[in-house]
C-alpha cells in the first residue's frame, strides 16, 4: 500500500522559475513530513521538514506548504538554480512505537535549465 503519493515524476524548470512538487498522504497518524534531496551517486539528504501544527515552513529558497485537512503537502523551490537539479523525495512518519520509520513518495526528478 502506497501511503505517500508524489507528483510529478519529473519536472523541468527554467533558471529563476518556481519548482513545485506535491505529495498526498493517507495515514492521519503521520506527524512528521520531511523532504529529501538526492544527487546522482549519493544518498538522500534531509532538506527541510515540517510538523502538522504549522501550515508553512521556509528555509532560504525552499518552502514547505502543509494542508492538514486535505492531507497534502508540497515543496516550493523559489528562484530555481541549475544546482537544484536532483531527485526530491517527500516522506512521512509518526512517533510513538513506529521506531521513526519513514514512508517515502516515489520521487521527482527536477531539471533546472540554465
Amino acid at each position: 500500500q502506497q501511503q505517500v503519493k508524489q507528483s510529478p515524476q519529473s519536472l523541468i524548470v527554467q533558471k529563476g522559475g518556481i519548482s513545485i512538487i506535491n505529495c498526498a498522504y493517507e495515514n492521519t497518524a503521520f506527524d512528521y513530513f520531511p523532504w529529501y534531496q538526492q544527487f546522482p551517486g549519493k544518498g538522500p539528504a534531509l532538506l527541510i521538514a515540517i510538523r502538522p501544527d504549522v501550515s508553512e515552513k521556509k528555509e532560504g529558497r525552499f518552502t514547505i506548504s502543509f494542508n492538514k485537512s486535505a492531507k497534502q503537502f508540497s515543496l516550493h523551490i523559489m528562484d530555481s538554480q541549475p544546482g537544484d537539479s536532483a531527485t526530491y523525495f517527500c516522506a512521512a512518519s509518526f512517533g510513538g512505537t513506529s521506531y521513526g520509520k519513514l514512508t517515502f513518495g516515489q520521487g521527482t526528478i527536477l531539471t533546472v535549465h540554465p
Binding site: 508524489q6 534531509l46 520521487g107
Partner: protein
Amino acid sequence: DAGITQSPRHKVTETGTPVTLRCHQTENHRYMYWYRQDPGHGLRLIHYSYGVKDTDKGEVSDGYSVSRSKTEDFLLTLESATSSQTSVYFCAISRGGNYGYTFGSGTRLTVV
C-alpha cells in the same frame, strides 16, 4: 555521509548466490534501516533495527534477512540473489522519533 558508511559500493553477483551488504555507523544511533531504491518506487523499507539484536520487517522483506550484533553494524543478506533484487541499497540511521534520517552513499547491486 560522515558517520555512516556502506560496503561494498558496487557489486555484481550471480543468481542464486548469497550476498551480504554492510552498514557501519559511528554516531551511536539506536535505529538503523535498509531501503532499496528503484525507479518509480522511490525508497522502500526492507528491514529495520531498533537496537542490538532487535530487528523487524519492512514492506519488501521477502528474500532478505538482517542482523545487528553491535550498535554500529547492520548487515543485510540476500539469501539467494535473484534478478529482481538488482537495485540500489541504502542504509540509514536515526535517533528515532521524528528526527529524520542520515543516509549512507548506497550500494549498487547487480544480479546477473
